[in-house]
């Protein structure tokens, strides 16, 4: 039996009339020609091209075939083999089981109950054919509709729940497509109907599909699961591990959280009210990265009782300073102050900086790649256009740069404007000597910035006493963020977004002739926070769930921790699978599934079937081959035609 997946395309066959009509009225087209006088020119009938009639007819036929083949291919024709076992006059009864193999199905003995329910349903229901679709975050496997029961049993025996969250939408579409259009359809949904899975976008199902919901017996036993583990460096080579757990049961629980790793294990008790989150904190000595697990004692759902994570000291922050001209005192001074402020170490600091100076010739993309932060002290005016482009490329990748003004500040700020980095307008210099009696003072910090936390309340007192003798005046644009401003509202430090990165542009040099800031206590925290403002100290740690592990080179199917691509991967089961809430399968879910039919009523018989299902064959590849053949012949014939008689229609109007 022939069926079409997109029968609406068949209306396009009406287009076949166009070449036929063209053929019937085929005459040479007249060329427009302005002529001095048409007084003696009489009108005449235009000639038909009788000589090429046979060739034209062949061309017409080929073009009709080509058009028809393309249209039919788009209509997705399917040839369905008739079934010998179905007696004439009766309807084929087909049942497809949609089995949820998401991680939550491993809770207690739900999985065994689900498989038993499927077996029982197969035995109780008198279906002519049975098929099966198993899904988790995607369709894991499917069994085509078959009259034989052995493959179904073998298929069931090989199934087990995955470690991923469930996404039933695509699986429902796949299951519906297994049905024959003319059959009596029955779709059995076998799942725990966890609300986190079944509240996602679901496709509608045609009304002629009978929906049956098989739900394993609800189990309200105690379940406490780990939701997240976070690590924070505290001091040199020490890390704090924060384990967050959730009590998914209806009674408060006291649970034991254990950290296991190479160092041994450490345990802490946490009291959790019903349905609430709780934390346990561990402090560890860390000299090099190591994989660890946080564990809970066994309960009804064990997959959320283990959390894989990495503990690692934070990497050294590499700061590269561009120093093209050592004769420029402001550049050298600024570099000296920056280097001193960043490289000073104390036991309480958990970030270490490594400052390196770059010569003029080394400012290139290959060197910049290694830098976490680039500082250009009083040297931006020396950058060539291509070096600005390199800097923009560097910033685009989410990196940070700090550009400090120097004696040639106009050139620097005009370059920032010219390369589209800064939208504020350069106005000139405010103040010009360090003998100025009334220096400028900083007065405000952007409250959403990291600097605002560092210089909160009394901590800002010293910063606001900083004397600035001269600074570059800018007319701020709404597109640029002002991190710090002077009393008169002029920007003191701008944060300029470039792609995913940020360029910080103070409007004064870190030089005693411009300001006394480098000599004050505020300088060290200001510089260190500015460098860290756009720097992600946790960038090497990657937390993903099992269903997201497809981005790795090797497929990961179970929770684990591993080192790959220079990053530390923590792969765990999605905590959403621990949620014990279920959707209503009596009213809400059937209503939701029938709201948006996959296929409009009456056209359900036209859907296409996946290849390899056994009883159907897609015909569109053959039609495309026919179309290609027609196209080839048509090109050949057209070439011959043009060789035989060059078209006079190519003649151009001589006027």
């Amino acid at each position: 039996m022939l069926s079409f997946g997109n029968s609406l395309f068949l209306f396009a066959l009406a287009g076949l009339a166009v070449p036929i009509l063209l053929h019937l009225i085929n005459r040479e087209l007249a060329v427009n020609l302005k002529f001095p006088s048409i007084r003696f020119i009489n009108r005449s009938q235009l000639p038909r091209r009788e000589k090429r009639k046979l060739r034209d007819l062949l061309l017409l036929l080929l073009r009709l075939f080509l058009f028809a083949a393309v249209v039919l291919a788009f209509a997705k024709p399917v040839w369905i083999e008739p079934l010998a076992s179905v007696p004439e006059g009766t309807t084929l009864r087909q049942t497809v089981y949609l089995v949820d193999a998401s991680s939550s199905m491993a809770r207690g003995n739900q999985w065994q109950e689900a498989l038993a329910a499927v077996r029982k349903d197969i035995a109780d229901t008198d279906s002519d054919q049975v098929g099966m679709v198993v899904y988790a975050d995607r369709v894991l496997s499917q069994l085509p509709l078959s009259e034989d029961s052995d493959p179904v049993e073998n298929f069931l025996q090989e199934l087990e729940p995955s470690f991923t969250a469930g996404s039933p939408g695509p699986a429902i579409e796949t299951a519906v497509r297994l049905f024959r259009p003319d059959s009596d359809k029955r779709l059995v949904l076998v799942s725990d109907f966890q609300e986190t899975d079944w509240q996602r976008d679901l496709p509608g199902v045609s009304e002629d599909v009978e929906l049956v919901f098989l739900t394993p017996r609800a189990n309200d036993a105690v379940n406490v699961g780990i939701v997240n583990v976070n690590t924070v460096p505290v001091g040199k080579n020490r890390a704090r591990v924060l384990v967050t757990v959730r009590n998914n049961s209806s009674e408060s629980q006291t649970v034991s959280i254990t950290l296991n790793g190479e160092f041994g294990s450490e345990e802490k008790m946490v009291n959790l009210p019903a349905g609430q989150l709780g934390n346990a904190t561990f402090t560890l000595d860390v000299e090099e990265p190591r994989a660890m697990t946080a564990n809970l004692r066994a309960d009804i759902y064990n997959r959320d009782n283990v959390w894989h994570f990495w503990v690692a000291p934070h990497p050294v922050v590499r700061v590269i300073a561009f120093l093209p001209n050592l004769d420029e005192p402001q550049a050298v001074n600024a570099f000296y102050f920056l280097q001193t402020a960043l490289e000073v170490e104390s036991e309480s600091d958990w970030v270490r900086f490594e400052v390196m100076a770059l010569d003029r010739g080394f400012f290139e993309e290959s060197v910049l790649v290694d830098a976490d932060v680039i500082v250009i002290p009083a040297a931006a005016a020396y950058l060539k256009d291509y070096q600005w482009e390199d800097l923009i490329t560097y910033l685009d990748q989410g990196r940070t740069a700090i550009v400090l003004p120097g004696e040639r500040f106009p050139k620097q700020f005009r370059a920032l404007e010219r390369h589209g980095i800064m939208n504020s307008r350069f106005l000139g210099l405010a103040g010009n000597t360090n003998e100025r009696q009334t220096p400028y003072h900083l007065s405000s910090i952007n409250p959403s910035s990291r600097l605002a936390q560092t210089f909160a309340d009394a901590a800002a007192k010293d910063l606001f006493l900083v004397n600035v003798y001269r600074y570059v005046r800018l007319q701020p644009s709404s597109e640029d963020t002002i991190l710090m401003a002077f009393e008169n509202g002029d920007p003191a430090i701008l944060a300029l977004s470039v792609g995913q990165g940020t360029l910080y542009a103070p409007t004064f040099a870190f030089d005693p002739s411009w300001t006394d800031l480098p000599l004050r206590n505020s300088f060290l925290p200001l510089v260190r926070e500015l460098v860290q403002e756009g720097f992600d100290t946790n960038r090497l740690r990657q937390q993903i769930f099992v269903e997201e592990a497809s981005q790795l080179a090797e497929p990961i199917l179970a929770p684990t921790s591993l080192e790959a691509d220079g990053k530390y991967w923590e792969i765990n089961v999605n905590p959403s699978e621990s949620v014990s809430g279920h959707v209503d399968t009596e009213q809400w879910l059937p209503a939701l599934l029938s709201q948006k039919p996959l296929y409009a009523k009456g056209t359900a018989t036209t859907h296409a079937f996946p290849s390899g299902s056994g009883s159907q064959k897609d015909l569109w590849p053959w039609l495309l081959m026919i179309a290609l053949l027609c196209l080839l012949l048509e090109s050949l014939l057209t070439g011959i035609k043009d060789t035989v008689q060059p078209s006079v229609l190519q003649k151009t109007d001589p006027v």
């Binding site: 087209l29 001095p36 048409i38």
Partner: protein, 300 residues
Amino acid sequence: MAVAYKDLLDPAHLTRIENYALMAKGAVEGFLSGMHRSVYHGLGTEFLQYRNYVPGEDLKYVDWKVFAKRDELVTKVYQEETSMNCYFVIDASASHNYQGERAACTKLRYACMIAASLAYLATRQGDNISLFAYQDSIVEALEPGHRNGQLHRFLQALIRLKPEGHANHERLLQSITHHMRSRGLVVYLSDMLEAEETLPRMLQTLRFQHCDCLAMQVLDPDEQDLPHGYPVRYIDSETGQEVTTFADTVREGYEKSMGQFMEDLKKGFRDAQVEYTLLLTTDNLGRALSQYLHKRESIT
């Protein structure tokens, strides 16, 4: 590579020369140097130049002093001093914008080339030259004169001409009649389409004012034989009317009608005692120049 004599009069060659002055000089000098014996020297008393003696020439023009000095026979050429006016009347209507595949230029360009050459020749002969170009009305008018710059003004006026609009012959006649007060020669250049009755009558009127007329019909070869071998929608340049036809089927009738039109035109001019010349845009300029010289001589 040396330019052959025939090239100097060939429209395909001349049309490449954008400068009318240069073009006219080349054509006229080429034309004159190709003649065995030139009798068209001036008849005045003002010495113009020497040229080599040609056997058969009147010996009274030989300069014997030069012969004595150089043992070489040369004749004196004098600047002619006449007050004859040469009026050039050019039809610059839109129908003159046509250029068939065989032609090297449009009809207007060809007419201008002829006018420029004749004007150069006339100036050389000492005649006054004047120009009237018209479409619906007169678009260029130049009073007769032969002083310095007259030829330049004449050629500049030709350059400014653009083929547009419909030719209004009657209005032209009314406009130029009062300008022609003295005896002269009218050189009329037009395709003369659809005017086989008007034009002979018009030029006859000028003859009544003691002006000799030289009617030069400029046509493109396409207008004679309608050579297009494919369906064409012909659009009348002046009226915009259209007719779609296949030339092969109507060519015979067209040639017949066109032949009749030409005959009527010739007869009309003959009756009006106006000398008529048909020039195709593929013809060289020699015919036009010789026609002028013959006419000029007969007037003299």
